[in-house]
């Protein structure tokens, strides 16, 4: 029997968060953590969590699983469970709305701050803007972000200053547009990043890299941004 510990908190009925202990029979199958959550919810519908695609592309079900942030739908029991224990908690550092659901507005605000959309001052051509495969390859490892917030909520700098430090997810997207050969707003983008918080709160501890379910590397992208800021200053 798997011992599942779930973080529970309903602001209407609970004074403070509590832990629900559930004995779970996986029937010997190597289920995904989301399957376990779904089956527990079938018995106890009051358990609240987000989920959608169940295949790791929508980014809904980021939770803290046995101490590590990840997507419940693509984390197999075999890779996380040790000593028959499965502890599921909400993503750290963001306010809890209920149970495993966190308020992600601060995360989204930081994403919006980097103006994550293509800016090009020239009128578009009648067909697509041309881009070589090499230029396009620069976007690989950047555009795939699913905004699950696993990275930013594993980052102490984001925990302490979620309103000022853009965080790994936002910065990854910032660099996605800085790196795009079709974007012409490089100078404006960089000028908005050159304060002591937005980028420079990253101390390179790479928690973000360790938890990204898509295998992306925000620290590297942040390094590139810093180099661009440096080149711009010299």
């Amino acid at each position: 029997m798997l011992q599942v510990s779930l973080y529970r908190y309903n602001p209407e009925t609970d004074q403070e968060p509590w832990t629900q202990e559930v004995e779970f029979d996986s029937g010997g199958k190597d289920l995904m953590v989301l399957d376990v959550m779904e089956q527990i919810k079938a018995q106890d519908p009051t358990l609240a969590f987000r989920r959608s695609c169940r295949e790791g592309v929508c980014g809904s079900d980021g939770v803290n699983i046995n101490g590590k942030n990840g997507l419940a739908c693509i984390t197999a029991l075999s890779e996380t469970v040790r000593d028959n224990k499965l502890v599921i908690r909400p993503l750290p550092g963001l306010p809890v709305v209920r149970d495993l659901v966190v308020d992600m507005s601060m995360f989204y605000d930081q994403y919006e701050k980097v103006e994550p959309y293509l800016q090009n001052s020239s009128a578009p051509p009648a067909i697509e803007r041309l881009q070589s495969p090499e230029e396009r390859a620069k976007l690989d490892g950047l555009y795939e972000c699913i905004l699950c917030a696993c990275c930013s909520t594993s980052c102490p700098s984001f925990w302490w200053n979620p309103d000022r430090f853009i965080g790994p997810a936002g910065l990854l997207q910032s660099y996605r547009f800085l790196a795009d050969s079709r974007d012409t707003a490089t100078e404006q983008r960089l000028s908005k990043l050159d304060d002591p918080y937005s980028v420079f709160r990253c101390h390179g501890i790479q928690n973000c890299v360790g938890v990204c379910p898509k295998g992306l590397n925000p620290t590297k992208a942040i390094g590139h941004i810093r180099n661009l800021l440096l080149e711009r200053a010299i």
Binding site: P156, W160, D194, D195, P196, S198, R226
Partner: protein, 120 residues
């Protein structure tokens, strides 16, 4: 762009650069001192060393680097942990007090260091 800041530097980049440059100077200084001490040192040779202008300048550089490095570093630490976000409105007051404390301490060290280096 975050504008509500209390750092001494003009930008995040300059803070970051000063942190790195001061760290390199400090590292060089301490390696040098370790080398001197490692080769055996007595009062006379120590005094001899510090009577030379280049060593005084080098030491002053290290001292200023220490001040800069500590100031930026402490500011980062304080603005992580001693904030209104974590401690309520008192956080801002407390951080200000601690920063003033840091400033006085570092200023004292620098003045004292100069006295030591050129005072004997």
């Amino acid at each position: 762009m975050v504008t509500a800041i209390t750092t001494m530097g003009r930008s995040g980049l300059s803070d970051w650069l000063m942190q790195r440059v001061s760290a390199v100077i400090l590292l060089a200084y301490f390696l040098f001192i370790a080398w001197v001490v490692g080769n055996g040192v007595d009062y006379d040779s120590w005094k001899m060393l510090f009577s030379q202008t280049w060593m005084r300048i080098f030491s002053l550089g290290a001292l200023l680097s220490l001040a800069v490095h500590a100031w930026i570093g402490m500011w980062v630490v304080l603005s992580d942990y001693v904030t209104a976000r974590l401690l309520g409105a008192a956080g801002n007051v407390l951080r200000f007090v601690l920063q003033v404390g840091c400033a006085i301490t570092l200023f004292t060290y620098v003045v004292w260091g100069i006295q030591i280096l050129w005072g004997y």
